[in-house]
Amino acid sequence: MLDRPYISVIAVGRSNAANLAFTTHWNASAQQYGLSSEVLIAPPPGRNAAMRQARGEFVLCTRADAEFSSELIQFLATRQLREDRLYRLDCHMQGPDFTALRTREGTFRLTAEGLRENAARDIAPGNSGIHFGEGWFPPEGAPEAFRWMENRAEILLQGGGAVELEVEPGPGAGPLAQTLRVLDRRGVTVAEFALRGRAVLRLWLPADAGGFRLETPDGGRALAGDLRILNLRCLRCERVSPPTPAVEPRSLESMQPTLLRLLSKGGWLQLPATMSLLNPTGSGVFGPGIEYWGEGWHRLEQSGSEQFHWVDRDAELVVRIPAEPQDLCLLVEPGPSLHGQPFELVVRLAGGTEIARAKINGVTPLRLPLPFAPGSAARLLLSPDRVGDPLLPGDRRVLNFRVFACACRTSARPSAEIVHAAAWPAVRVRETPAAIDWVERLAPAQAQLQEIGKPAFLHVNGCDFILLSRRRWLELRGFPETGDLPEFMEALLCYAAHFAGAEEEVLRLPLRMTRPWDENEPTPLDDELIWMITQMRRLRSPVIVNGEGWGRE
């Protein structure tokens, strides 16, 4: 061994057998991977005394009943540790027939696949196949359960389809409107919303998405009585099945007014197509393949036996392409705002790309090939090429055109060009005012919160792995030596290290630590300690609790 090891490991242990096993196992692994290290076993109150004896360039404080993955030992052996870092690690806890994971956000039992299990009362049912990964706090609230998310939070699920989220900006988000960004697992932005209150959002995931990540780019603001960053709370996250329109064959008599107007314009040749479109629309105008229709559509109206939606512009549709290419089939008629005159209907993607254009002259059936790959979904906007004014007495709406039927059908002449939209279809189903006006609620503390800015919420949920340079440990005078609970003092140490300039880095799998399951969760920090850390954030200063004689008693 070199005179001065690279790393000193201070392991807190109570049992001689465990201490010996730890030392033996660590030394064997260290030797195997060429890690220069020393092990110091200490009783719980003796960590600081051991710290003063440690000779390593870096010092890891951990437990004698912990086991480390070989990847972790190999990583340490590469000597990549940095002086300006506070290294932390999630802790795997092995129970009799389960594994739990202690993370920054909370402690979660893991599925056999290593995903965080949903709680009994959660925002997604346990059997939904939806799992909440990094960035989500455990569910809370009653009677309405919700989860808070930090600056970014991961949702994992298999397969594609529509997922609906009910969300509301939290105190970390700041003044509304706030941006909520959706990123795919590669980190590409696939959707974005401006949130002004509680909103129901729907996303259509590609079949191979595997999940997505939410981000609140302008979030991260502090709270006064809670160290967490609470940008957004999610009250519901669930898969949404495509609508199954009632298919009721319509009588010729009920289609008669529409057909007569078609024929009056000489549309004999379009009669079969029109009847084919009208026939299965049943109680509405939307048929198979239309997964969603939202903004831009006026309410469903009935005039005699006819049913239709008036449209001003940007009528929103989400279509899904199954295995075969699809055509978008529409039955459209110019409205009074365009004086019933012909116009061109433009079909665009939500991002603005035009994918089809067709002339509408009187009642007009359309069949527009959708240039999307099988298995994908797209959000489309239907607009006229020009916009009229409200013209009906007593009706302020702009009624540019109306749609009698809208559905997808298998394409006979598929589009040769496939449009690859980076964005996922995403819609705001509805939005209501937020239940809590956080700006108003936090107004008394606003000046101080503004001083704090956007702080870090550190991983202090069970500090069984704290790795700092020896110089930093000495500068911080080790763990605070008080009569308080060890977990309190470990949390203070971590925040002091952070404000002393050691940026937290949580090492990720396969760097792994495992210890036996402990059903006793770390006691949450009390109000005084939360205040203390809040002041560290405000003053951007560490707080060291020990005098010069630390580690000597």
Partner: protein, 567 residues
């Protein structure tokens, strides 16, 4: 002067005329210190940290006059250039980060002891002699009241004249318990617990007057001194409305009255609130007493003070008019005028006067004495036809050893009153009070003007917090850190004084300038530690029984090689 002087003085400044006539005040500081250091042979150095010197203005060293005669005091100017200043947050609105600047000086001080002060402080000769006596100890934090003086300093530059001016022009004193007047006494105010004409005057140990919805009161320190001069017509009995404070917990406090010789002349326990009466020797008409309170000293949650006792009223018991004739001893017990008055309840004698009402006469006096079991042990009856009578019962007590002494002093409870619901009040106990091993209310008023520790102690505590907000209360925070690191606070007493030369409003803290100061901070978007926040930090130190240190190893810009000039 030596390479390792006994004492370093550290102060921070820049030539920006802060507070008005800054150079004049600093000259007075320099003159008085260097002259007296020479007079008393005090081996010292002055370390001036010249922070962010204003461009285009001379350095302070060149603006000040320096004595021609040799001095045992070295003077060092350490400059913190603007480029360094600009690294700090709020450098655009705080031209001098005072506590960081002081840390720069402490870090570079060479003295065995380091006194942190300001540029407008003059030490009394007694203080200089004390310092020169080299009796300072490690492990002690020395503090001092600050005495403010007028700023129309005498011309001529003679230090003795300056000292005399200080002694004659005292405006106010910042003591531990609050602000005192120029005579180091609590200022006379209306509606005080001591009526203006009462002949009672509080001395040291009384906190400022406070008011609740119903009462005015003063909290006392562990000892509260008062002077008395019994007016003619007052009985030699002091009636006091007293209440055990929240720091007493559920336990009674013990009250002791101590005469100038240090003798406890009367004592009694007090639970809750009560009207108590202190009997004086009839012949004692003036003097001073100390009220000492012994309580549990439990700390509170919103107030760093230890509040064992409050006094809601203190007055002499009046004697009725008819008793003020030469024929009757000028004494009385009761505030109203009953027909029978008890004059004395001394240990060996009970006297009372009987006076018939106008138009009536006393025909007979009967005396009956019963023992505790109700048996008549003495009966006497006498007919009389005259007016008022003084009836004296002489009692002869005997202790078991026959050596019991008697005292004319007596402290008795006259009436118990409902106690305050402290847990429900602003003055509620710290919920952890019972587990807090060590709590003290330190003298932090104006501590930026005088805090003296050994250099080793300053280093162990890493000096002041280096916050970049407005530095209010940061010095007080340090004092509590020192105390909770195990240092003992010692408040040096008169005639050991520091005089502080009054300056313009909004420069430092003065009661008159507070409004302007706050307005200035607000306009600059600056924050400072609020008193309530300091209290919370103190609560944490009490909880941990440990200091809180806010700086790292490089405190005081230790990693920088700063330019230094010597005079």
């Amino acid at each position: 002067m030596s390479n390792t002087p006994y004492l370093s003085l550290v102060l921070a400044a820049r030539n920006d005329d802060h507070g008005g006539n800054m150079l004049g005040r600093m000259q007075a500081f320099v003159d008085s210190w260097m002259f007296q250091a020479a007079r008393y042979n005090l081996d010292s150095e002055i370390v001036v940290v010249e922070w962010n010197p204003p461009p285009g203005r001379p350095r302070l060293k060149d603006e000040l006059r320096w004595p021609a005669h040799p001095s045992p005091c070295d003077v060092r100017f350490i400059e913190v250039p603007r480029e360094v200043h600009d690294r700090f947050e709020h450098s655009d609105v705080i031209p001098l980060h005072q506590m960081i600047a002081k840390n720069v000086g402490i870090r570079r001080a060479r003295g065995e002891f380091v006194m942190v002060t300001n540029l407008d402080i003059i030490c009394s000769p007694a203080l200089m002699q004390f310092l020169a006596g080299r009796k300072l100890e490690r492990g002690v934090m020395y503090r001092l009241d600050r005495t403010d003086i007028a700023n129309n300093l005498p011309d001529g530059g003679k230090v003795d004249d300056l000292i005399e001016f200080c002694e004659r022009n005292m405006l106010r004193v910042f003591a531990r318990e609050g602000m005192l007047d120029g005579e180091s006494l609590p200022p006379e105010i209306d509606h005080d617990i001591f009526a203006k004409e009462s002949g009672l005057r509080p001395g040291a140990g009384w906190h400022d007057i406070e008011h609740s919805d119903y009462d005015a009161y003063r909290w006392t320190e562990a000892e509260a001194e008062f002077g008395f001069e019994r007016p003619r017509g007052a009985a030699p009995r002091l009636v006091m409305d007293l209440e055990a404070g929240p720091s007493a917990g559920e336990a009674p406090v013990t009250l002791e009255f101590i005469d100038p010789s240090g003798t406890v002349v009367a004592a009694s326990p007090l639970t809750g609130r009560a009207v108590m009466r202190l009997h004086f020797p009839p012949e004692l008409t003036s003097g001073r007493l100390v009220l000492r309170v012994r309580g549990r000293g439990l700390p509170l949650i919103r107030d760093p003070r230890i509040l064992n006792l409050r006094v809601l009223g203190m007055e002499w018991e009046p004697a009725p008019d008819w008793m003020q004739s030469a024929a009757v001893p000028a004494e009385s017990n009761g505030p109203a005028e009953p027909e029978v008055r008890v004059l004395s309840t001394g240990a060996r004698q009970i006297q009372f006067v009987v006076r018939p009402a106008p138009g009536e006469s006393l025909r007979k006096i009967e005396v009956a004495v019963h023992d505790a079991a109700g048996n008549a042990i003495l009966q006497a009856a006498e007919h009389t036809q005259s007016g008022g009578h003084l009836i004296t019962l002489n009692l002869d007590f005997e202790g078991n050893d026959g050596a019991r002494t008697t005292s004319p002093w007596l402290l008795e409870t006259v009436r118990a009153m409902p106690a305050s619901d402290w847990p429900a009040s602003y003055h509620s106990l710290n919920p952890r009070a019972q587990a807090i091993p060590r709590a003290a209310y330190l003298h932090t008023h104006a501590c930026g003007d005088f805090t003296l520790l050994s250099r080793d102690d300053w280093f162990a505590l890493r000096a002041y917090a280096e916050f970049t907000i407005w530095p209010m209360h940061v010095d007080a925070l340090f004092c509590y850190s020192a105390f909770h690191a195990g240092l003992r606070e010692e408040v040096l007493r008169d005639p050991l004084r520091i005089y502080h030369i009054e300056h313009g409003a909004a420069a430092g803290w003065t009661p008159e300038g507070e409004h302007t100061r706050l307005a200035r901070l607000q306009s600059k978007g600056l924050s400072e530690l609020q008193f309530s926040e300091v209290t919370q930090w103190i609560n944490l130190m009490r909880r941990f029984n440990a200091p809180l240190i806010f700086t790292l190893e490089q405190w005081g810009l230790a990693d920088l090689d700063l330019p230094e000039t010597r005079v």
